[in-house]
Amino acid sequence: MASKTNKALFEAEKQLEKTEEQFSMLQILNEDGEVVNEAAMPQLSDEQLQELMRRMVYTRILDQRSISLNRQGRLGFYAPTAGQEASQLASQFALEKEDFILPGYRDVPQMIWHGLPLYQAFLFSRGHFKGNQIPEGVNVISPQIIIGAQIVQAAGVALGMKKRKQKSVAITYTGDGGASQGDFYEGMNFAGAFKAPAIFVVQNNRFAISTPVEKQSAAKTIAQKAVAAGIPGIQVDGMDPLAVYVAVREARERAINGEGPTLVETLTYRYGPHTMAGDDPTRYRTTDLDNEWERKDPLVRFRKFLDKKGIWNEEMENEVIENAKEDIKEAIKKADDTPKQTVTDLISNMYEELPNNLKEQYDIYKEKESK
C-alpha cells in the first residue's frame, strides 16, 4: 500500500526521463559533413568557415608537434588536445576580443587563438613565469591546474563585467570529471544568482584520466546540471564545429543582453593520453571506442563540408600545415632564447612591495646570483 501511495505522488522515473529529454544533443554536421539541422546553421561567411578550418588543422599539428617535442624533452607539462578541436576552437571562434577566457589545463589552444603568443604557451609548458605574462589586451589568464577553481573565478569576472556595464562575457572550460567538483556547482550557481554574463563549457571527453564519465555521476547528461543553478544548459556534438559555434554564440548573445549564464556541454574525445606524464589510455579505453570516436573526427567532417562547398582543398590544408610547423619551430627557438629564471625574479613577483622577510632573502640571493 505504502509504495503505491508514494508512486502516485512521485513518479521518479518519469521525472528523470522528462529532464533528460530536454538535453538532447544539438548537431548540425554529421560525420559525413552533411548538414542535418539547417535551421540551426550559424551565419558564417566562406572566409570565416575557412579560417575556422585553418585553426583546427593548425591546432592538430600543434598537438602532434607538442607531443613530439615533449618526448624529446623540449617541452614539459602537456595535455593533448587532438579530437577536441571543434570543442575548443569553434567555441573560441564565437568570442570577441573583449571576452575573458579562464581556461583549464587542456585549454591552451583557446588562449593562443585569443592572442597568447605561441612561444609563451611553450614557456608555460616548460614552467617559466614569462609564459604566464599574458600580453596587455589579451583577456585570458594562465591555465588553471586546480579543477573547478576557474569556474568560481569566472562568476567573479562575469559579475565584474556586468558591474562595468561591458558588452562582454567570461568563458571558462572544464572537463567531465570537473563537473563533480563543488566549485563547478558554486560557480554556476553564483553566476545564476547574480545573472552574470558567463559561459561554462564542459568538454565531456568521457574520461577523467582513467575514470569514465559514468563513474562521475548518475546524471545522464552534464548539461542537465544547469538545472541545479536555474540556468539554461545545452548539450552539443563536440566533434561538430558548427554546433559548438552556434551554441556558444547564442550563449554569448543571451549573456551580453543581460539574460545570465549558460552551461554548454560538448561531447568530445581526446585521441591521446590524459597528459604526457606517463598516462597510458590503453589501460582504460578499448580500441573499439577509439575507432568509434575517430570516425567522428571534427577535421574529417568539416573538411568534407567545406570541400563540398568548394572552399577547401588539399593545397590549402598543406599550406596551413607548413605554416604551423614553421611557427612552432620559431616559437620553440624563442622559448629557448628566453633568459633563465632566477630566485630574485621569483621573489620580485610575489608582492607589489616586498615584505621584510623577502627583502632580506632578495639580498641573499642577489649576492649568490652575482657570483
Binding site: F129, G156, N356
Partner: protein, 325 residues
Amino acid sequence: MAQMTMIQAITDALRTELRNDPDVLVFGEDVGVNGGVFRATEGLQKEFGEDRVFDTPLAESGIGGLAIGLGLQGFRPVMEIQFFGFVFEVMDSISGQMARMRYRSGGRYHSPVTIRSPFGGGVHTPELHADSLEGLMVQQPGLKVVIPSTPYDAKGLLISAIRDNDPVIFLEHMKLYRSFRQEVPEEEYTIPLGKADVKREGTDLTIVTYGAMVQESLKAAEELAKEGHSVEVIDLRTVAPIDIEAIVASVEKTGRAIVVQEAQRQAGVGANIVAEINDRAILNLEAPVLRVTAPDTVFAFSQAEAVWLPNYKDIIDTANKVLSF
C-alpha cells in the same frame, strides 16, 4: 575624535574606503541589508547601494572565487567569511589562488582582496566559530595577515589592508568587538602593515603577542609591575610578515622574552617568533624564550573555554619562569 568600539572603528574604515574608492566592493553572507551578523557593515548598503555592498549565496569557496574574478576586472573586493572556522571551505581560493595570482602571472594580474573574518574565544560560540587559524594562513607565501587588538589599530590597519594591492587577511577577534571603547580619529588615517606596536614599555621582559592576548598581557604586566618587574608588551598587529626589527630591538634591551598566543601550541605563530629570536638575538638572551598557548586539543566546547583559553594568570606564571631562570 570619537569614542568607538572596535566594531564601530571597522565600520568606519569600510565607510571611509567605500567613499574614497568607487572600486571597493563589500560582500559576503548577510553583510547587506542585515548589516552583518556583528553589525560590522551596518548602514553601508543603505549609504552606498546594493551595487557596492551586497549579499552572496551561502558558499565560502564561491565568495573567494567571486573576489578573485572581481579583482581581475579591476575591483577592490572586501569579502567577509562569516566565521574564520569556515575558511577550510575557501582555502583553495585564498591560499591556492589569490595568494599566488601576482607570482603565477609574473605580475600581469594581482588580487587586491581584503578578507575580513571574525574569530576568537571567550564568548561561548558554537563549534568552529572561535578557532585561531592564523597559523595556517601565515604559512602561505603571497598573503599578509593582520590581527588588530584595539579600535584605533583596527581602523588604520583596515584602511591600509584595503588599499594594499595584494591579498590581506584581516582577522577580527570577537571578544574585542565591543569589550572597550577608545578614542578613534574621525578622519582617515593608515597604519603600515607589518609594523608592531609597543603597547607598554619595559626593561626586564618582552612579551610578544597579538589579538585578545594583548589585553591579557597588559593585565599580566600590570600585576608583574607590582612585584617590581618592568614588562614590555609588543602587539604584533600583523602576524605575516612579522616586525622582526621591533621584536629584536626589544629583546636586545630586556634580554628575556615570552610569546603569547590564544592558538594551540602546535598552531599560531609563536614557534616562528621564537625561531626568529633564536636566529637573531641569542647572545642577548638571559633565558630561553617560552610560549603561552592553548593546549593541543581541538578548540574547547564552549563551557570549557575558561579552563582552556590562556589568560593573564598563565602569562604571569610563564613570565616568572623566564624572569627567575
